[in-house]
């Protein structure tokens, strides 16, 4: 919806690569997020869509470093945050955990505790490119990133505000933490923030309790809290699910506005295809811990490739023409407990064939012509015969297994 792809910088602000988050319980091992990769640029909105239980929220929490025991972000996952200013401060602060790859002599000496990587320096020796690997960073480092660099907006605006404190108190808490504002300055700034998210009479509203706000107001206040830290990335975890449709539209407009004025990178999680169409630049469809399809928003709606995506779009009321009954996807999302050896969607897939139960599909481009539309389905690439396609999936699976 915003940001011209041509103008974007080459390197994304946030890169998630091969993210695996596993929950080890006594009963079973749940691979809630199983090898997810995507990236977000400044000024871009990336949508993550999927049913309940598909791993959307765990992905978000993994990026925030908020996965709680018994959940573990697996070793080879990497979440790279590429904000140069932050990399510079971290390179100073966590000197011992920094690897400098810019000069060739010492390159590659990466030990297990390093999480700050310097890739390039400019003429005067300042760091010009590098990243912080959130998946490897220790808790105290991640805490500094939270809020100030990556902020989160939660699903239920009522329960994400503490009912015993006034809204102002809670916004000021975030302001004090990240901008060191206290007293009247903090009140002033908090009022500005509330105004920025479209709450009239902000000064008075600051002294009110969350229950005195309407649902939409609360979500605005929560967004104001997220903005109080002046983040680069906002992760919005179903921010409009608890709201009615008109308020939803307002909140989406607000997020759009804020993104434009502050050049935010937004990761937008929802199960609502309509909302995704409205806000996203790029969409990732998640199913059972994996991204099954990834495409620019217009392309995805024009040419949904994966049978799951097609099913999702078909189950939107009003999209089918003459059928009397709404078509649905039968069954529910399986809980992924074992490493995949088959297509996890096969049991529900209308187009499943024998090989779907034997080969785990990899994300491939739809055909030779397209570059930014990928689907993890044995039916693709389109321009190969089914046997060739299956071969390609099997091979890439093996090479990945070797690495």
């Amino acid at each position: 919806m915003s940001g011209d792809p041509e103008l974007r910088s080459e390197t994304p602000l946030l890169e998630v690569e091969n993210l695996r988050t596993t929950f080890y319980t006594d009963k079973e091992t749940v691979r809630a997020v199983d090898g997810v990769s995507f990236s977000i640029h400044r000024g871009e909105t990336v949508g993550i869509v999927g049913e309940s239980g598909s791993g959307k929220s765990v992905t978000a929490r993994s990026i925030m470093g908020l996965v709680e025991s018994p959940g573990v972000v697996e070793e080879h996952s990497s979440i790279r945050f590429r904000d140069t200013a932050r990399v510079r401060t971290f390179a100073d602060q966590f000197d011992q955990h920094t690897i400098d790859m810019s000069d060739d002599d010492s390159a590659g000496a990466r030990d297990e505790t390093s999480f700050v990587v310097v890739e390039d320096r400019n003429e005067v020796g300042e760091i010009s490119q590098g990243y912080i690997d959130i998946a490897q960073a220790p808790e105290n480092a991640v805490r500094q990133l939270r809020g100030g660099d990556i902020a989160m907006v939660f699903q239920d605006p009522l329960s994400s505000l503490n009912p015993v404190y006034t809204v102002g108190n809670q916004i000021k808490e975030a302001l004090r933490l990240h901008q060191g504002l206290r007293g009247n300055d903090a009140t002033e700034e908090a009022a500005n923030l509330l105004e920025a998210v479209g709450i009239p009479d902000a000064k008075r509203r600051l002294t009110e309790y969350p229950h005195e706000f309407s649902g939409g107001m609360r979500q605005r206040a929560v967004i104001a809290m997220a903005l109080a830290c002046d983040p680069e990335v906002i992760i919005a975890d179903e921010p409009t699910t608890a709201l009615d449709v008109t308020i939803q539209a307002q909140i989406l407009d607000l997020l759009d506005d804020l993104q434009r004025t502050r050049d935010l990178a937004v990761m937008f999680i929802t199960h609502d295809m309509g909302v995704i169409a409205e806000v996203s630049d790029r969409v990732n469809v998640m199913y059972a811990g994996e991204i099954v399809e990834s495409a620019p928003v217009v392309e995805l709606f024009k040419r949904p490739a994966h049978p799951y995506t097609q099913g999702l779009l078909n189950s939107i009321p009003g999209w089918q023409d003459d059928t009397e009954r709404l078509s649905t996807i039968e069954g529910e999302v399986p809980t992924p407990t074992d490493p995949p050896t088959e297509c996890r969607f096969a049991p529900r897939c209308p187009k499943a064939f024998e090989e779907c139960w034997k080969v785990h599909p990899q994300a491939v481009t739809l055909d030779k012509g397209t570059t930014d539309h990928r689907a993890a389905c044995l039916l693709y690439p389109d321009d190969l015969s089914t046997e060739q396609a299956i071969d390609q999936h099997t091979q890439s699976h093996n090479t990945e297994g070797d690495s």
């Binding site: 100030g148 902020a151 329960s159 505000l161 009912p163 009110e208 005195e212 929560v222």
Partner: protein, 488 residues
């Protein structure tokens, strides 16, 4: 009034001071009343503050250079205080025509009753005035129209059983606080050094006023279960001393004994619960926030502690520490405080563990984490307020069982060493006379223990219902809906 506030709420960044200046009358009136009430007891307040100061200075500097404070303490005795035995004396004698030495020449019984009544009236009056002050603040000066605590306070105010508990607890507190003025005589004179003090009485045979030591008088006023040797409830002994609830086997005034005993019980109960509560809260927050190993270790430790039999442990503790310095403090009360704190924290911790685990799952804890708040601040700001209520409930109930345990230990002759009064020792002393005319010695302290423990439990029930928004109250369903999400 209401209208005023709504128009004013537009520019509501005014400070409390500005709001008071806008409408000073209620605040000024209330403050004048408070000052008046406090002036009545100025002597006692200054004396008490100076004593604490002197204790602190003594602890800090040693005994030297204390004459100034010591002098000040002595001087403060001269400041008139309404509720003291100097202002309303009850010790006197009947010289054949009239009472000598008592308040306005009234009988010792009436003098004592006047003083005791005034003490209770004054204390409840002061508390009521403070409550009024809170209402004035809440209705007129507070910035917020409503806070979640308001509902809890209102629910408690509608809770009859809880209010009964509060009444009993406050009465008990007053008894402990005003112990020196409440008894017909004092601890030092009647219990600690009876042979150092003399009283005057009128000898009928010689028709003269004579002196006798308190110790000797006590021996003649003992209650030993036979009609010749008994000073029961509301009666005089042969030296014209009035005993509101009779005397003990050695002639000690029972009410004086009970009043000072209340101090000991209260000190032990409150201190050990405060200490145990502190340990429990710290552990509760940490185990709920970090879970895992921290939780497991605490579970195992608390299980082990809870498996120990308290009274056995107490006996062991008292015997082991018998001749050490720690057993000297406050006749052994400090030792018991440490013991009960160590024994009671697992119970309190278990009581708050559930609520703590519940609140840590709330989205606002996640939200605070997501904007980078430190764990310590999250625990204090976003978790603690939800736990305090439960702590009050279980704490007030545990104080009851601690008071019973202390009394039980004294009954067995350990714990608080004589002559320091302790209710359990009175129960034990009167045991041989339960079925005689001297039944009061055991019955009254026993009844008081039961009453106070019941009161503490009732108070705990009241708080529990007050902090639970789902509980049934007269205040309708709409309120329940609006506060349903607080989780408190």
């Amino acid at each position: 009034m209401l209208e005023q506030r709504h128009t004013a709420s537009g520019e509501d960044s005014r400070t409390l001071w500005q709001r008071i200046r806008n409408e000073p009358r209620p605040a000024v009136l209330w403050l004048a009343g408070l000052v008046g009430l406090l002036l009545l007891e100025a002597g006692a307040i200054i004396h008490f503050s100076l004593q604490i100061l002197s204790a602190v200075v003594t602890a800090g500097l040693g005994d030297g250079q204390l004459s100034i404070i010591a002098n000040a303490v002595t001087a403060s005795d001269q400041i008139p205080t309404l509720l003291s035995r100097e202002t309303i004396p009850n010790q006197g004698y009947w010289n054949g025509q009239r009472w000598v030495g008592t308040f306005l020449g009234l009988s010792p019984a009436v003098s004592w009753a006047t003083r005791a009544t005034l003490i209770y009236l004054y204390s409840f009056g002061l508390l009521w005035w403070l409550w009024r002050g809170y209402r004035i603040y809440r209705d007129r000066y507070r910035q917020a129209d409503w806070t979640p605590r308001d509902d809890q306070i209102d629910r408690f105010a509608n809770h009859t059983w809880g209010k009964f508990g509060l009444f009993v607890v406050i009465s008990f507190l007053i008894m402990a606080l005003f112990a020196p003025a409440l008894g017909p005589t004092t601890f030092v004179q009647n219990i600690q050094d009876p042979y150092e003090h003399q009283i005057q009485y009128f000898n009928d045979e010689t028709s003269t006023v004579e002196s006798v030591s308190v110790g000797q008088a006590n021996l003649d006023a003992s209650s030993r279960g036979n009609p010749d040797q008994n000073v029961g409830i509301m009666s005089y002994d042969r030296y014209d001393r009035f005993h509101p609830v009779g005397t003990m086997p050695l002639g000690v005034d029972l009410l004086t004994f009970l009043a000072y005993g209340a101090r000991v019980s209260l000190f032990i109960g409150l201190s050990s619960i405060a200490l145990a509560g502190f340990i429990a809260t710290a552990l509760g927050l940490i185990t709920a926030y970090y879970k895992g190993a921290a939780d497991l270790i605490t579970v195992v430790t608390s299980d082990s502690v809870q498996a120990l039999p308290v009274i056995m442990l107490a006996i062991l503790f008292v015997v082991v520490f018998q001749d050490t310095a720690i057993a000297e403090f406050y006749s052994g009360a400090v030792l018991l405080v440490i013991l009960f704190a160590l024994v009671y924290w697992p119970y309190l911790w278990r009581s708050i563990r559930g609520p703590a685990l519940q609140v840590v799952e709330k989205d606002w804890v996640d939200a605070a984490e997501s904007f980078g708040q430190a764990p310590r601040a999250i625990m204090q700001k976003h978790m603690l307020p939800y736990i305090v209520g439960y702590l009050l409930v279980y704490g007030s109930m545990s104080i009851g069982s601690i008071i019973i345990s202390v009394a039980g230990l004294s009954y067995l002759g350990i714990g608080i060493s004589a002559p320091m009064p302790e209710w359990g020792r009175a129960v034990s002393a009167g045991q041989p006379y339960v079925a005689s005319v001297s039944w009061h010695i055991t019955f009254i302290p026993g009844f008081l223990i039961t009453l106070v423990v019941t009161g503490l439990n009732a108070f705990g029930d009241g708080i529990r219902d007050a902090i639970d928004p789902q509980s049934e109250t007269s205040s309708g369903t709409e309120e329940e809906v609006t506060t349903g999400g607080t989780g408190a």
